[in-house]
């Protein structure tokens, strides 16, 4: 059995789960229509969720792109303190984050394309549900019960296929945003742990070492200044002594 017929079977099984057939075609029709309307609402909500998740990801990657120069600055600081090893660590971190971000950008673009397709599917689905609504009145009015059942089955299957398609596409888009979210969060964490904003609390090893360097530089320069002052003070005394 080929892929197409197997896919078709999966879809049909899904549809038959969806449709409970009643004795009276009029009841089946109305019930089926109600179900379709519910599903259409769920599809709309599903698409909206994907759009929201995608927007959040876009914002997050933008934020990360802004953070990136901070790692550069960190590397510069380390280098001017003569700590090439620390500078290298900061730059490695930056390169990794950049790589991950580029991948995310591509995936966001893919997701956008999927989203456009979803919007198309949803539109098609809405047209079909509307067509079903008008057909069901015709079927009720014109056909015998047996004929009506056949027609309902056909029409509902046509709609069910579209719904199965759209539902599957939403589910896949949702999975994708979740994976991307996890990846962006990992990059986020990495970059956050590398910034030098907070010297006092929960810094990384890199932070602490840089803070130490900067502190010992301060000590050194203070020491130099004091030495100078002390020496100058001594000379002053000597000079005063000679005068006497």
């Amino acid at each position: 059995m080929g892929l197409m017929s197997r896919t078709s079977n999966v879809v049909k099984a899904w549809i038959s789960k969806l449709l409970d057939r009643a004795e009276d075609p009029a009841v089946t029709l109305d019930y089926s229509y109600e179900r379709q309307r519910d599903m259409l609402q769920k599809v709309k909500k599903g698409i909206a969720d994907v759009v929201t998740a995608k927007k959040r990801l876009e914002l997050q990657t933008q934020k990360l792109e802004v953070e990136m120069p901070k790692l550069d600055e960190q590397a510069r600081q380390a280098l001017s303190a003569g700590r090439e090893d620390l500078a290298r660590a900061a730059l490695e971190r930056k390169a990794f984050a950049q790589q991950q971000l580029q991948g995310l950008d591509q995936q966001i673009a893919d997701l956008q394309a999927q989203q456009d397709k979803l919007a198309e599917s949803e539109k098609r689905l809405a047209v079909k549900v509307e067509a079903f609504r008008s057909q069901k009145e015709t079927i009720k009015a014109q056909y015998s019960a047996a004929e009506a059942q056949v027609r309902i089955g056909e029409a509902a299957t046509g709609i069910g296929e579209e719904m199965a398609d759209t539902g599957l596409a939403i589910e896949r888009a949702r999975d994708k945003t979740e994976q991307m979210q996890a990846r962006a969060a990992a990059v986020d964490e990495l970059v956050d742990s590398g910034t030098l904003e907070d010297y006092t609390s929960s810094g990384t090893e890199l932070d602490r070492e840089l803070a130490q360097i900067s502190a010992s530089q301060q000590v050194d320069s203070d020491l130099e200044r004091l030495k100078g002052e002390v020496a100058a003070g001594g000379k002053q005394k000597e000079l005063e002594g000679e005068k006497k």
Partner: protein
């Protein structure tokens, strides 16, 4: 899937079925790139040769082509007894 419905000539259907058999073999052989190529070809054939049905047409399809950007894993899951189609209905 997700691209609307098309009506195909008998000849196009025959060609499509050949591609479908090869696609099935690609899934069995776990050959992802081959599967991608075949699904793309199947879609291209349908779009090129088929006549798109209007959106308000409610007829059922004779065959359903899986989405061409699906991974091998996803395709296998779709075709498994549980299927990949989520339960949108309550």
């Amino acid at each position: 899937m997700g691209e609307g419905q098309y009506r195909l000539s008998d000849e196009a259907v025959k060609h499509l079925n050949e591609l479908d058999d090869q696609a099935h073999a690609a899934v069995e052989a776990e050959d992802e790139s081959q599967l991608d190529t075949l699904l793309d070809d199947m879609w291209a054939l349908v779009r090129q040769e088929g006549e798109q049905l209007p959106d308000d047409d409610l007829s059922a399809s004779d065959a359903v082509i899986p989405p061409s950007d699906m991974t091998l894993e996803e395709t296998k899951k779709l075709l498994s007894p549980e299927g990949l189609i989520p339960d949108l209905g309550g």
